[in-house]
């Protein structure tokens, strides 16, 4: 192999050569200057994943930069991936860092969704790192004049075994030059038994800067000569497909804000101004008359869904459910309701675009830079190669929030005014125009025999899917919108419904509701559909356990065969010191009653289980979740500490979604527009949490960002039954609903 000295200039300059735009530096050295080089890199080309140099660069100072296509969403993915790379390369964590994700700099690894980052992309990166290590060892063998099998590496320094004086560092071997070799994917990889970084609790690389204030979020990025932009839309979306038709714009309504101007393309309306406050005020004041038809099913959402002309598909059909139900000792049968919920990121999305002749640079918090690039190209009338998308983290979005919508808005405005434009969505833009987690309606029937075996399970689920385009794009381009589509994770999901328990007769039917018939926009929201599905199915299972007077944990265990499901169930039961008993066997008569419930769940992969301890105030209807235990088996845990943090976050967010969150709307528009009209769980009400990671060194790493959500919601619902003897069929379990259920 030859490694000739060819400097990797364009990529290195993107990495290290960003021009600093230094602001008024009032706080001295503590203030990090707002950065960014807005100059697009010279050669715009997505790195070829077949080339080793697309993944790893080793620098002269014996550090390495790793290029990953997956973005950091506050889940610690970057840290986990760096552990994998450093492990294979025999580097220390302090010697590796990650390049900013950028369509011109980092390879396309697909979207950061479904918690697949470590699962799908860990192996890719591991293979690249192993290739790099092997290439470096070949160079070292030549340099040290020793056979490769006598070399060993520590912290990037190669030594000859038995002759420690003969040593050379990676940096000396290749520092800042290209490998110029193709990926083989065949280099030997470390056996699990030799891991020192992978499986360790390495601290997160992003946390120190996030705590000091030095971390650069998207909201901090500025560009020279830029304008501030805001979108102008009706407050709260109407029915998907209707868009927001402009009847009239009264530009005179903002004439007193000297600097502000209206930007319009089709039905896309925005304002720009030199000062941010002027843009905010102009967006508030601009008088636009909209045509918004009253097509939303306010107050009759679930009736509308059930009555709609659905496309039905049988997802699973095994055995004979009808016959088995007819023979069952007990049957549990009920209808369950799950709401529209919002991603509601803590900060609304922000983007900065610089679109000029034949070139666009868009900085934003997209979950999938390479995918957004195509959408931008289409909207701007450019080729994808002319568009560069660079990622900056924003507040955690948990799925498809408004990040791409905001990015397209900034690009449309920048193209219109010929200057860089920074768009910050306002709180009501983000909440009111979100791609909501779709509402769900379920008819469930389960049957059990006298010995406590689940003999039949039938599930009918109704929901519309996810829209594929973004609002800014649809408004700017006009034309008919595409109907929301069904697909994986948008179906009544067999992983949650049939993987957990061994059941001989199962029937799962998906009723796809036509999403253009007067519904809200839909999108993937953390653990898509699983909360609604687990809320329905895990209560059905719990009801069957109660019917045969069995302890719920013992009942679940009896109906499971998979060692991994049994593993998380045992882990969570043990952590919670679960004492076997029949639910609601010793009811209390006080005003405040307490209960405990258990449930299982997943999102496509991995194994989740939860136990909830709650209190119910029977007069006010208020539920307080006191403590949640969550166990997760995600295969080989690259970093158990990261997963514990994820589990805790899931337990808290699931509490919020189980008890509080519901998107409200009238016939014309969404009315959940701020934290008062879309409340979420607050500090004072958060439960205690216990996270348990079931480490499986012999299994491949799978997702760890969503798989305990459904279990947690199911456990809270089952705890409610334990406390009150009453089943909640609809969530969020608000005080109103609880009081109504307790009265019935």
């Amino acid at each position: 192999m030859t490694t000739n000295a060819q400097p990797a200039l364009s990529r290195r300059s993107v990495l290290k050569g960003g021009a600093l735009v230094v602001g008024f530096n009032i706080a001295g050295p503590l203030t990090s200057p707002l950065l960014d080089s807005v100059a697009p890199s010279a050669a715009a080309a997505t790195p070829d994943p077949e080339l080793l140099d697309s993944w790893i660069a080793v620098h002269a100072d014996n550090t390495a930069t790793v290029f990953m296509g997956k973005v950091e969403l506050g889940q610690g993915t970057t840290t986990g991936m760096l552990q994998i790379a450093a492990e294979e390369l025999d580097l220390a964590m302090s010697q590796v860092s990650a390049a900013r994700v950028d369509t011109d700099v980092t390879p396309n690894q697909g979207p950061a969704v479904a918690s697949l980052s470590i699962m799908d992309n860990g192996p890719q990166l591991r293979a690249a790192a192993a290739d790099a290590r092997q290439a470096l060892l070949r160079l070292a063998a030549a340099r040290l004049n020793a056979p490769a099998d006598r070399l060993s590496v520590k912290d990037g320094v190669v030594t000859v075994e038995g002759d420690p004086g003969r040593a050379v560092s990676y940096g000396d071997l290749i520092g800042d030059r290209r490998f110029n070799i193709r990926m083989t994917g065949k280099a030997p990889q470390k056996p699990v038994s030799q891991y020192r970084l992978v499986t360790s609790r390495a601290p997160r690389v992003d946390i120190p800067d996030k705590v000091s204030g030095k971390y650069v979020y998207m909201q901090h990025v500025r560009a020279p000569g830029m304008l501030h932009g805001r979108v102008v839309r009706p407050r709260g979306q109407g029915a998907y497909g209707d868009g927001a038709r402009v009847v009239r714009i009264d530009a005179g309504s903002i004439s007193d804000i000297a600097d502000a101007r209206v930007v319009r393309r089709g039905d896309f309306v925005g304002v720009v101004a030199g000062r941010e406050w002027d843009a905010v005020r102009a967006a508030e004041k601009l008088k636009v008359t909209w045509d918004v038809p009253p097509r939303l099913p306010a107050g009759r959402l679930f009736e509308a869904m059930r009555a709609s002309r659905t496309t039905d598909s049988v997802i699973v059909e095994t055995g004979d459910v009808a016959a088995a139900l007819a023979k069952a000792a007990h049957v549990a049968s009920a209808t369950y309701y799950g709401p529209y919920q919002s991603h509601a990121p803590f900060a609304p999305n922000c983007a900065l675009a610089d679109v000029s002749a034949g070139r666009a640079l868009v900085m934003c918090s997209t979950q999938y830079p390479h995918g957004l690039r195509n959408m931008l190209a289409q909207t701007l009338g450019l080729d994808p190669e002319q568009v560069q998308v660079r990622y900056y983290e924003g507040a955690g979005v948990f799925g498809r929030a408004c990040h791409d919508d905001c990015a397209i808005a900034a690009a449309v405005m920048s193209q219109a005014v010929g200057r860089p434009v920074r768009v910050q969505f306002m709180r009501w833009d983000e909440l009111g125009w979100d791609n909501y987690g779709p509402a769900h309606l379920a008819d469930v029937r389960g049957g059990v025999d006298a010995d406590g075996n689940i003999v039949a399970f039938e599930y009918h689920g109704w929901h519309h899917g996810w829209n594929t385009a973004e609002t800014s794009q649809e408004l700017a381009l006009g034309g008919p919108v595409q109907p929301p589509v069904s697909g994986r994770a948008r179906l009544v999901n067999k992983e949650t419904l049939t993987a957990v328990y061994a059941m001989p007769n199962v029937r799962l039917v998906n009723h796809h509701v036509p999403g253009l018939d007067g519904y809200l926009k839909g999108g993937n929201l953390r653990s898509p559909m699983d909360l609604s599905i687990s809320f329905a199915s895990e209560q059905t299972v719990d009801e069957l356990a109660h019917a045969v007077r069995m302890d719920p944990v013992a009942f679940c265990r009896r109906n499971m065969t998979d060692r991994r499901w049994l593993g998380v169930l045992d882990a969570v039961a043990q952590a919670a010191a679960w004492a076997p008993r029949v639910a609601h066997a010793a009811p209390s008569t006080g005003r405040v009653v307490s209960g405990r419930g258990v449930a299982l769940g997943t999102h496509i992969v991995s194994y989740g289980a939860a136990v909830a301890d709650i209190e119910v105030d029977r007069e006010s209807g208020e539920i307080k979740v006191r403590h949640l235990y969550g166990a997760l088996d995600a295969g080989l845990a690259v970093n158990p500490a990261l997963i514990e943090n994820q589990i805790e976050g899931m337990l808290i967010q699931a509490t919020s979604r189980a008890l509080i969150e519901e998107v409200q709307f009238t016939q014309t528009n969404v009315t959940s527009l701020d934290w008062k009209t879309y409340p979420v769980l607050r500090f004072a009400d958060h439960p205690g949490v216990t996270a348990i990671v079931v480490q499986r060194l012999d299994e491949r790493s799978t997702g760890a960002g969503e798989e305990v959500m459904g279990a947690a919601v199911g456990a809270i619902a089952n705890a409610f039954f334990d406390a009150t003897g009453v089943r909640m069929r609809q969530y969020p379990m608000t005080p109103d609903r609880v009081r109504t259920a307790l009265k019935a």
Binding site: G28, L30, T31, V211, G394, R427
Partner: protein, 169 residues
Amino acid sequence: MAEEVTIRVNEQVATLAVDRDTPLLYVLTNELRLQGPRFGCGLAQCGSCSVLLDGVEIRSCVTPVGAVEGKQVTTLEGLPALYARQRNLARAPALHPLQRAMIDEQAPQCGYCYNGMIIKGSELLSRKPQPSEREIREAMNGHLCRCGSYPRIMKAIQLASRFMAEERP
């Protein structure tokens, strides 16, 4: 109407030509390019934009810049220096004890809410060096965390309280 406004931020004086009604947040982020206070709602509902005004936490998104003239604004960037003054330390530490504790607890996820969490938590600790769990819950209730890191913030405030107790000569 833009006019001259003079404000004190992190012990430094800045004279700016801005409309007095401009919310302080926009001045801190755009004119002064500070990264601590940051936009979250603009409605005083979330705590993302929190700063200390004469040591008391306020929402800079709804505070006109004209209203803070003659007062001391402290942002996340100036917190260690403020802490040093409050505690008569010879020099400012690199981080406030609560910042250290947040790292030790590996508390943040996206971390966006941590400006407000640290500002509010530090205000609480300056008033009440050993807050009970209940006092922490009450004090922090105006600050949202969508990622659900409340339990770790709770632990970090308790840890910071111990750091501060140990540091006393």
